[in-house]
């Protein structure tokens, strides 16, 4: 390794020897506006990342060579470009009227490398803070939906502060391995896939890196794409700026569309089925029924309130600048026992030496959050449990029983024992939702980094960045001693005291260090070469411990206080507490180099080579090499393009590879580096053996062949801006192939298990992405632009060694769609007996299909084929409106809840859909099976409930008013903005459940995304 590193240096030196050095000199000047100095103006040498800002007196100084162009830009002013001539002084008067687009947009391409937009050769979309600020979402990921082509964000839970957000870029590039993009915050790659403790109001930009040219620099972690987040920082030489934002909102549970029955409807169905309370009732009795008619949705849910406050302070001196923010976010859940509260503090500091040679910065973000959540959130086993899942319970609860019949668990158990039939399960849920199963989490987080850099010479810069990412999560969960389930379990076990309490704690710590040496030089006023050599070291530690007490004394027990613990009764094996702990260490080490060449900002070529090692693999598989090459042609710079009205036209192409070491997809919200920490070693364990005798057992059986998943990607793209900047956009075409696909290798039972994780197969995603923005109106008073982005992605399995999947719901078969549904065609109802009809493999109609052999490909996949977003930004004399729609098309999911709403066996026990009033009878030929159909359980082997989960949703809409400056002249304020905002207000979908959005194969009752309306104000001083 060491020798390789040296080799890179040698190469760099060799490069620099071959060219003569261009003469660099110091250019300085003063920038003014209306005769006053203008601080904070960005001065950049065109085609480089080299730049500075004007100070408090509007002065700047920069080293530049003759022939280089200086670009002066400032928001709200026209950007100007001036070529360095023989003079060492360039003074300039800035003119108002420019728009955001004219600012030279700086694009982060990773590891603190930045490029102007014209000079990137990769597929990158940058989302600005404007899209994210003040959105009432605990996680910024929710706010990104629909904003970038190729970026899929599907949230699987509306639990406040939920970690259950699925995100992928350009389709799913793996089956078993992690598919989440890498998230880089302020130049430090994180292991996180949960960001509830980050305040999105602190974000300056979020860049979505999609092609190999952009992601290969992240080598071992870039295979799923990369999100690069830059947080706000103050500019040098800027006056103190204080911003205060306050937002208040309301969340509401969306409706489902299952058409659940009311009391009379259900009694009618029960009468017909001759079961439940309706059995034996006459039509007249049902018509006269005036008992309870409970809508359990109203009992179990509420309108939750959201509040957030953000205070931001920034200022900059000549050599230091500082940004500080304080944020508070509070969201009540729609289920009364759920909520989320967060405090965040961020301080971003920048400093430099007077001669600009030494630069340093630190970004420190502290967060503390607390939330109460349903145990369903992390325990999918209760998704289908009417006792513990209010989403299901509110749908399945019998309407003809009254709520609030039982004051507490003791009354309930006296009434129903342990019989959960009929309405009893709903009563138990009611008891739990009184808060008798608290599930409280807190999370303390530190995300900090310190970067230093020193200019060794005009060309060489040495830098080091160290980052720390620390999360401490504590959980306190209990089945309170008076809770029904606690009493029921105690009664079953013959114990006096029920209840249990679990206290657990997780520490997740990652240290990252990046050492870099960068080189940049312009030769002969035409050739610019930039190169970098890097070493990245990362080490992660996971420490978990938990304690469970069984048996709580209701007299003194309170959650987490340690009071009321019943002493162990060893004789009767009662009240025995249990403990558990886990520790995992993980790490990676990488060396990489980058080279960029530019000729007169007209042509550019870039390359990256990266050697990566991961702790997860052994022997020859430990190190992997990943690389990319890319090129661009800025066609607009050619002579023949003059006077064509084309501001920018750039053709890009790239090819490269990246690796994925996270071979096991982590659970929501957990660090992907930790699962599978010993897959390559045979391990045995000491264990509580047979008859509780201490023994030894076989643990892990090794797969020493385990190797990196490798993604190679080709991309061609076109960026353009025409019609004086009115229309801009880009198009990308890509093909992404995953080799050494990490999936299950089927094993013979002879080895002791059927499946083992390993490398097996290839996947391919190919697609097109398009992004457009058009300024319809652009006047002094009225601006209106519309934008749209969309992508088409087809994921196919190229190769996989699986002998037969005929009995599976979802196929991964070579030549077919990734996750293609494999179901028996459902044909409808047999009009002679009301049974269901299916099509068997031979093409015959049957009532009794074979659930293995009669399945067939449907051509429908779980992964959306088309998706995107569109919207508009408008402003008129201080009024403004932003609208964002998100959509996905050609995505199919199995609606298990829909089946349950139609499940004939549930009649009498649970509520079911009033659709069944129209069930088939001899007298009523109908498309719904008879209430006495005998083969409805084949429904879930068939495509009967394989529903279209395409959707179009009004993701976000806001309307506001910014007071013109003249009204504020005599106040202490410099800006005031009032706004109203809505999230998820409208949804168009054929999906009948609460939310079509979650990325799960069979959607059961999971917590849907809320509808939120909020109002807010933003004041700056």
């Amino acid at each position: 390794m060491r020798s390789k590193f040296k080799w890179i240096f040698t190469l760099l030196l060799a490069c620099s020897m071959q060219f003569s050095f261009a003469q660099e000199k110091n250019v300085s000047g003063t920038i003014t506006e209306n005769g006053l100095p203008l601080p904070g103006v960005s001065v950049i040498i065109k085609g480089t990342t080299k730049g500075t800002q004007t100070d408090m007196n509007g002065k700047y100084s920069i080293g530049a060579s003759k022939g280089e162009a200086l670009v002066f830009s400032y928001i709200g002013f026209v950007t100007q470009t001036i070529t360095v001539g023989s003079s060492n002084t360039i003074n300039l008067v800035m003119v108002e009227g420019g728009t955001e687009l004219d600012v030279v947009e700086i694009v982060s391409t990773g590891y603190d490398r930045t490029r102007t937009k014209a000079e990137t050769s990769s597929a990158i979309t940058t989302i600005s803070s404007k899209t994210l600020e003040n959105r009432p979402n605990a996680s910024f990921l929710n706010s990104l939906q629909g904003t970038a082509p190729g970026l899929t964000i599907l949230s699987a839970s509306g639990q406040p502060g939920s970690a259950k957000i699925d995100m992928f870029i350009r389709g799913i590039s793996s089956i078993n391995a992690a598919t989440e993009p890498l998230i880089v915050i302020d130049g430090v790659p994180t292991n996180g896939n949960q960001f509830r403790n980050l305040n999105q109001n602190d974000f300056e930009t979020v860049s979505v890196l999609r092609d190999a040219a952009a992601t290969s620099i992240y080598g071992n972690r870039g295979a799923n794409g990369v999100l690069v987040i830059t947080t706000k920082r103050a500019k040098y030489g800027s006056a103190l700026d204080i911003t205060y934002d306050v937002v208040t909102g309301f969340n509401k549970l969306p409706e489902n569309n299952y058409n659940m029955s009311n009391a009379k409807q259900l009694l009618t169905i029960e009468q017909r089925k001759n079961t439940g309370m309706g059995a034996g009732m006459t039509d007249a009795q049902i018509a006269a029924y005036n008992g309870p008619d409970t809508n359990w949705r109203d009992e179990f849910f509420r309108i939750g309130m959201t509040q957030q406050h953000n205070l931001g302070l920034s200022f900059g001196g000549a050599n230091t600048s500082n940004y500080t923010s304080f944020g508070y976010f509070n969201q009540e859940g729609m289920v009364p026992t759920t909520d989320f509260q967060r405090f965040t503090i961020r301080n971003n500091f920048n400093g430099k030496s007077a001669n600009d040679k030494f630069n340093y910065s630190s970004q420190v973000a502290l967060g503390y959050s607390k939330r109460n959540q349903l145990s369903q959130e992390t325990n999918s086993a209760v998704n289908n449990n009417t006792i513990q899942n209010p989403l299901l319970g509110s749908v399945a609860g019998l309407p003809y029983v009254a709520p609030n019949q039982f004051a507490n668990g003791a009354e309930l158990i006296a009434a129903i024992g342990t019989d959960f039939s009929g309405p009893n399960d709903t009563y138990v849920l009611e008891d739990i939702l009184k808060g008798s199963m608290p599930n409280e989490y807190s999370e303390t987080s530190i995300l900090a980094n310190v970067a230093v850099s020193y200019k060794l010479s005009d060309s060489f810069t040495l830098g080091n960045k160290s980052g720390v990412d620390f999360k401490l999560s504590d959980r306190a969960f209990a089945r309170a001693p008076g809770n029904y389930l606690a009493l029921a379990v105690a009664a079953g076990a013959g114990e006096e005291f029920g209840g249990l309490e679990v206290l657990s704690s997780t520490k997740d710590f990652t240290f990252t260090n990046i050492l870099s040496l960068n080189y940049s030089k312009l030769f002969n006023d035409a050739h610019r070469i930039e190169a970098g050599a890097y070493m990245e070291y990362m080490k992660s530690h996971y420490i978990f411990s938990s304690r469970q007490q069984n048996g709580l004394n209701p007299k003194t027990w309170t959650l987490g206080s340690g009071t009321g613990y019943i002493a162990p009764d060893v004789v009767n094996n009662s009240y025995i507490p249990s403990v558990g702990a886990q520790e995992i260490n993980a790490g990676t080490l990488s060396y990489f180099g980058t080279v960029d060449y530019d000729y007169k900002q007209r042509y550019g070529v870039s390359g990256v080579v990266r050697r990566d090692a991961s702790y997860r693999f052994v022997d020859d598989n430990k190190w992997g090499t990943f690389w990319s090459v890319s090129g661009r042609w800025n066609i607009d710079q050619e002579a023949f393009m003059e006077n064509t009205g084309v501001d920018m036209l750039k053709l890009r192409a790239s090819y490269g590879t990246q690796g994925n070491q996270n071979v096991i997809a982590p659970a929501y919200g957990t660090n992907p580096l930790f699962p599978g920490s010993a897959l390559v070693r045979d391990t045995n364990v000491t264990t509580n053996g047979y008859d509780n005798i201490q023994g030894l057992a076989t643990g892990q059986v090794a797969n020493t062949d385990l190797i990196w998943e490798e993604v190679s990607q080709a991309n061609i793209g076109l960026d353009f801006r025409v019609a004086k900047g009115r229309l801009e956009g880009n198009i990308d075409l890509y093909r992404k192939q995953t080799e050494e696909l990490y999936t299950t290798i089927r094993r013979s039972a002879a080895v002791g298990f059927y499946g083992q994780d390993g490398n097996n197969g290839k996947l391919r995603n190919s697609g097109v992405e398009l992004m457009l923005r058009y300024k319809l109106v652009d006047t002094n008073d009225f601006d209106l632009s519309v934008f749209a982005n969309g992508s088409y992605n087809e994921g196919k399995v190229v190769d996989i060694d699986i002998a037969d999947q005929s009995g599976e719901d979802l196929l991964t078969v070579p030549g077919q769609l990734t996750y293609e549904w494999n179901m028996i065609p459902y044909l409808g109802v047999n009009q002679s007996n009301g049974n269901l009809l299916f099509l068997d493999a031979a093409g015959n109609v049957t009532e009794n299909p074979d659930p293995t052999q009669d399945r067939r490909r449907t051509g429908k996949s779980l992964i959306p084929k088309y998706q995107g977003g569109f919207g508009l930004n408008a402003s008129y004399k201080g009024f403004y409106s932003d609208v964002l729609f998100a959509w996905a098309k050609e995505v199919w999911k199995l609606d298990i809840s829909h089946f349950w709403a139609y499940q004939l066996d549930f009649i009498g026990d649970d509520n079911i859909s009033a659709d069944l009033l129209n069930s088939w009878t001899a007298a009523n030929p109908s498309g719904l099976p008879s209430l006495d159909a005998t083969n409805q359980n084949f429904s879930m082997d068939s495509d009967r409930f394989l529903n279209d989960a395409s959707f179009l949703r009004l993701r976000s809409v806001s309307f506001g008013y910014s007071f013109p400056k003249k009204y504020l002249d005599n106040t202490f304020m410099t800006g005031v903005k009032l706004f109203v905002q809505g999230e998820n207000l409208l949804l168009w979908s054929k999906w009948r459940g609460f939310d079509p959005e979650m990325f799960t194969a069979g959607t059961q009752s999971t917590y849907p995304n809320p509808r939120t309306i909020s109002v807010g104000a933003s004041v700056s001083f």
Binding site: M1, R2, F5, A279, T418, D419, S421, G492, A493, L515, M535, Y537, M538, K539, N572, N573, I576, N585, G587, T588, L589, A613, S614, Y615, S677, R681, T683, N684, V685, T686, G689, Y690, D691, N692, Q694, G695, L696, A697, T698, G699, A702, R746, R747, S748, A749, A750, V751, G752, F753, Y754, G755, I802, A803, G807, P851, T852, D905, D909, T934, N937
Partner: protein, 488 residues
Amino acid sequence: MSVLFMGIASSCNDAIDIVQDGELGNEVTFQTVADLQQYLVGGVYPNVSTTSEIGFTTVFTDEVGIGPNNGGQGIDLHRFNLNASTGDASSLWLSHYRLINRVNRLLQGAALVTPVVDVANSIDETAEYNDIMAQGRALRAYAYIQLVSYFSTDMADDSALGVMLVDIVPAIDQKFPRVSNGEIYALVEEDLAYARANVLKQTPAAGYKFVTKSMVDALTARMYIYRKNYPMAKQFAQSVVTDAGITLSAPNVYKQMWADGIGGEIIFAISRPISGTWGNVASTWYFNNTNATGGAFFDMGRNLYNLYATGDSRKTTFVDPTKMEDANYLTSSTYITTDVLPIDKYPGKGNQPLRNDLKVIRLSEMHMILAECAAKDGDLNGVAGYIKNIRDARYTSVQPLPAYSDVTAAWADIMLERRKEFAFEGFRYIDIKRLGTLANQSIDRNITDDLIKTLPTTISNTDYRFTLPIPQDEISASGSIIVQNPNY
């Protein structure tokens, strides 16, 4: 500067050369005879289970009806939908091959260990070492007998296709074809012979939760009766009856035995102690407790219940007192909730309401094997005598000697007694398969055993479904190397 780089580069391997704390590699696992003993109890015995057999047999045959709390559990299987994807077939296949794999690992580990023989200090671990292997091999034989009985089309035919013969620790990607029953039985006989010669515990009294010589003999008798090798079956069954040192349990002992209070007539049972994480056998039928309101998704089949006469202690031992009998169950529309017969053969223990030891071999099975041998010889009186032995033990009063008009009637009575005696122990399916044609009997359900009274209550005793399909999971891994059973 280069010193800085080098210093960092050389100290960085700590990030990539990581072995997790507390990992136990193979090389240090098997070092002493004590290690082998620990692996026997930690790695081998915990993988012995009859839960899959019990779950499958009760639901597929005629031992259960749909219980009041059934939300779809097991209904497909109960309605005779049996195919390669059926979970029970898959888990039955895997659980026994996992046990075989662990025994093979024990034997491989044993090859690395030399028992200490230190004459000076009168230490000799040889017998202990051999006993460990004997126990392992007896359990491997048990696994193969179970596999052959469920997955071979005809377990009495040595040339019929059997199961995969695995007597090594296979490479991770190794695949095995099915071999003839004869080849499987050859290994089973070798294992049993070794076990018989080397096992230290002789009788159930020495520890019926572990392999004993009585257990090995009883298993041998079972293997031979399954193979219709009557003379050998008779020989081993007789030797168990003579040597095991136990008698058929009287009603009060019998009830305690099922609640794990006493060993009684048990020859071998799989321990499922109260504490620790062990399987709960009664969760095959219940969510919470083994009574009428304990969340029963299956209860006792009505026809089986009707077979237990008043005075038969099995009626009160196998059915919980919270039972609800509906005299009009045949005509009632609410029979699912009004006619509830909670299965109580596994009544739970302590604070584990669904957990009991899994009784694998009991003395009554030896008497029934002897009855079969008598029937084979046409000795109707002999059959009657063995069956009377069992009935006398199950009732508090002496029962009359049965009389049979012909040998078919004798076979039918054998099946009847086995049905009553071994209900919920995972025998019924194999019994119908091997005795159904002799006794002219098959699955015999009541119409009220399903939610819908019009569904079929039986299938032919020669139906292809009396051999389990090779599970799809195995076929997916092994591909064409493994042959599926007919009609699947």
